[in-house]
Assembly symmetry: C2
Amino acid sequence: MLTMKTKYALKALALLASVEQSEPMLIAEIAEREGIPKKFLELILRELKQHGILDSRKGRGGGYLLRRRPEDINLASIMRILDGPLAPVPCLSQTAYRRCEGCEDERTCGIRLVLKDMHQSTLKILESTTLADVALKVREAAMGSKPVARYSI
Amino acid sequence: MLTMKTKYALKALALLASVEQSEPMLIAEIAEREGIPKKFLELILRELKQHGILDSRKGRGGGYLLRRRPEDINLASIMRILDGPLAPVPCLSQTAYRRCEGCEDERTCGIRLVLKDMHQSTLKILESTTLADVALKVREAAMGSKPVARYSI
DNA sequence: CCCTAGTCTATCGGCTAAGTAGACTACCGG
DNA sequence: CCGGTAGTCTACTTAGCCGATAGACTAGGG
């Protein structure tokens, strides 16, 4: 299961990716629009900033904004920042390899052999999907499920 | 990350799948051969029995054995028993669907749309891989990494 | 009847997830 | 240069789960 932290992060980033990128958005606004506890979101956004995903400005007219273009930020990197390694077992992690304690022979470990396939396929998806893809999918889905357009009176 | 519980379960089951299926194996033996705390393994095996994966016999000559053939037991079902739903978010779970709290429109949720692809690909692998596959992979890997055969003196 | 081996309930320490509190620092406008 | 705005940081708290252990109980075999 994804942690709340990562879920909130993805929601916030998807929001930032879907709006005008030139000007910052307030923590409070993100929190309200996505239904995230403001104080908790604060921590999350700061962490993302410290890892080079976001930028921030203080004072009036401040807030958070993406540091790079949405199409240059993939989901794997975000999840790794907040939830740590993606691998199901440490001996399969690319970013934080550790030998499983008590494992005698890594090459013939059944669990490892099977999970390797699984992990590789999820990695492939998470590393190739960007915030831009997410924003696009949302727009497409919204188009498909709504009656095309709404004309004001 | 996989929990220890599931890891131990997979190891134990892979072992049972790789030996003679007609006679039971002692908890103590499984524990020792796989390096699992015996008392903890007890809980795990019992849980697997209660869910129809294993059978057991008491008294002398007793122990645990697979209830079905290794090729009829897939990894997804095992993981679900011990770790609960496999889905990264409740709204994607097949076996324990729950609406994500605070999610206004499931159809246009960006997270859901992206994770759906990922989850589907892992499900496909876990549901189609059986204990027999694991045992086979282990044998193949052992063949490949060792000098073919060992002749006794 | 007794040894063997699984069954069950309870408990425990430690850790992490999720969220909260409150003080502090920096920027912008006037 | 002052005051409000808005992000920054440290330190809790609270609940729940993970991993493991203890000990009493039940049932089968010989």
